[in-house]
């Protein structure tokens, strides 16, 4: 008989313990690029930063049920904030990344007042419109952002004052992956707390949840703000490690890509966001190497197949397969 736990917080903590398979996963994403693919460290760095972005989207789509087609707006806000800060003379990476996160989080908090008032199609349109608006704003403010030429003159100082960000990307990947891991732990803690459970129940039955004393709108605003801050962190870190920002980072294509990654991997499971990012970015790298013009054809095909046959994403499909194998 399982021991009875009567303290909810303790019970929640027990649920967030890291399993051996997870330890193996994180060790391999750390070791494999360094040892086997040192030429691909730049790609690995991009994947790790994009995974942070994808986790941020999973928090709002997969848990709170807030669908967004403009989440790159917050990625871009963080990217420009960190980039401009560095350009103006403060290139310390960790404080710079936090600055980007806070800036994007503030933007997210403002937008959240609109977000919680609408649903479904209106939600898509508002988030879509937000993305368009920010791209044009960044384009117009070219004295600050560099406009369509992109932001130049970013210089990221040594990490912890010691490790230099070089062309080879050793420091960059360590830095970004470290951030990815921390964001993952934070997100997991969040979704397994009463706060995270309430997000799911707001999605499932808002009236019932509020009748239990949960201020639905305030909770949704909170998770949207947190999600925007995490997206901003991802943008800031990618800016620092690549020392460039372009208007594309804010744009619709970027928002659509990240949503595709999340849907491919599977929503509402955090690891789905990470897996989807890896699959999408590796596929893009390989397919565009073969044929730079038509690679979206394959992504489109993969997306349709996954949505039709694995509605819970690739990770959800794998879980189902494992259950079947175990059941035999």
């Amino acid at each position: 008989m399982q021991q009875q736990i009567t303290d909810p917080q303790k019970w929640m903590r027990q649920k967030t313990r890291i399993s051996p398979i997870e330890i193996a996963f994180w060790l391999s994403v750390l070791a494999v690029p360094y040892i086997f693919f040192p030429n691909y460290l730049a790609l690995a760095n991009q994947i790790a930063a994009t995974a942070i972005f994808c986790i941020s989207l999973d928090l709002i789509i997969g848990y709170a049920g807030i669908i967004s087609l403009g989440h790159a707006a917050f990625f871009g806000l963080g990217a420009y904030a960190a980039g401009i800060l560095s350009q103006k003379g403060w290139g310390e990476p960790i404080t710079g990344a936090l600055f980007g996160a806070i800036f994007a989080g503030f933007g997210g908090w403002i937008v959240s007042f609109m977000i919680v008032r609408v649903q479904h199609l209106a939600l898509l349109m508002i988030t879509l419109g937000l993305g368009f608006l920010l791209v044009e704003l960044a384009n117009t403010l070219d004295w600050l952002t560099g406009g369509s030429d992109g932001l130049v003159g970013i210089d990221t100082w040594n990490l912890f004052g010691v490790f230099k960000f070089t062309f080879w990307g050793h420091t960059a990947y360590g830095y970004t992956l470290g951030a990815t891991f921390l964001v993952f732990l934070l997100a997991r803690r969040l979704v397994n707390s009463p706060f995270g459970l309430a997000l799911e129940t707001i999605r499932e039955n808002p009236q019932r949840t509020t009748a239990l004393g949960v201020p639905n709108r305030a909770r949704l605003q909170k998770v949207f703000t947190i999600s925007a801050a995490i997206a901003g962190l991802a943008g800031a870190i990618l800016t620092q490690t690549t020392e460039t920002v372009s208007l594309d980072s804010l744009g619709f294509q970027h928002s659509a890509d990240i949503a595709v990654m999340l849907i491919l991997g599977g929503t509402g499971r955090l690891y789905g966001a990470i897996l989807g990012t890896i699959i999408f970015m590796v596929a893009r790298d390989q397919l565009s190497g073969m044929n730079p013009q038509y690679w979206y054809f394959w992504i489109g095909l993969l997306l349709m197949i996954v949505v039709l046959f694995m509605p819970r994403g690739i990770l959800g499909g794998l879980e189902k397969l494992m259950e079947k194998v175990r059941g035999l």
Binding site: Q4, I5, T6, D7, P8, Q9, W11, M12, P194, L197, A198, E200, T201, E204, N205, Q207, R208, T209, T210, A211, L212, G213, V214, P215, N216
Partner: protein, 240 residues
């Protein structure tokens, strides 16, 4: 006399433009039990939802422990101590029993109800703590719905047809548990129930609602004996 726990003063309420409750006034004393009787569609659930704040209030006011809560949102009323268990039960089907109970878990120190106490009241839920909400029987869902609301530490429970559609043996068990809960924890109860005899046996006072108005108000014991009134408003739904 002590201040009533909850009072409705000249409340006219409904949904959208439609008026369902018409000029309803009502006082509920702390620790008492009130039965809401009446035929289907006369406004019993609307009354409960109005107490919770889910309806459109056209006029009148709602007071809780003497304070005007007319403008408070549903979640604020829940936090103030009003617990609502809707007819549909609305278990969160994708969450486990224990997760259903911890959604609203707080670190509050002087909270009267916690997981241990709730499990003591409903041992069946403890056995099924790992099961998903969708895997529970009707009776278990009802127990979970009550238990989940208890976790918010309410002073008053609004129970909307809790016994509907349950097997007789489960009904007995639930009646006994609800009665024990009210007696031991001093819980104030508002009970909507189709079977008048069951409802009257579990409560101190009763009102009968007819077309959105209070048609009769008195003690449960008196009404139990007043077959003429029961027959007139409810078609003498005395069960068996």
């Amino acid at each position: 006399m002590a201040e009533p726990l909850l009072s409705l003063r000249n409340v006219t309420a409904g949904y959208g433009e439609a008026v369902v409750l018409d000029d309803v006034s009502l006082d509920i004393e702390e620790g008492s039990g009130l039965a809401l009787l009446g035929r289907n569609g006369v406004g019993k659930s609307t009354l409960i939802e109005t107490i919770m704040g889910f309806t459109t209030l056209f006029s009148g006011s709602v007071h809780w422990r003497g304070k005007d809560i007319t403008r408070l949102k549903p979640y604020q009323r829940a936090q103030a101590g009003i617990g609502w268990i809707p007819q549909e039960r609305d278990i969160f089907s994708t969450l486990s029993v224990e997760e259903n109970l911890t959604v609203i878990a707080s670190k509050g120190q002087n909270s009267q109800w916690d997981l241990a106490k709730v499990y003591e009241l409903f041992p069946r839920l403890k056995e099924r703590s790992e099961n998903k909400g969708s895997q529970l029987s009707g009776g278990e869902q009802q127990m979970l719905a009550i238990a989940r609301t208890l976790m918010t530490n309410p002073s008053m429970l609004l129970l909307d047809e809790p016994l509907e559609g349950l097997a007789p043996i489960v009904v007995e068990e639930l009646i006994e548990t609800i009665t024990r809960m009210c007696n031991e924890a001093g819980m104030t109860l508002v009970l909507v129930e189709q079977h008048a005899d069951t409802a009257l046996a579990m409560t101190d006072n009763a009102i009968i609602i007819e077309r959105g108005r209070i048609a009769h108000s008195g003690t449960s014991a008196d009404l139990m004996a007043d077959h003429a009134t029961l027959d007139r408003y409810i078609g003498l739904n005395l069960g068996d």
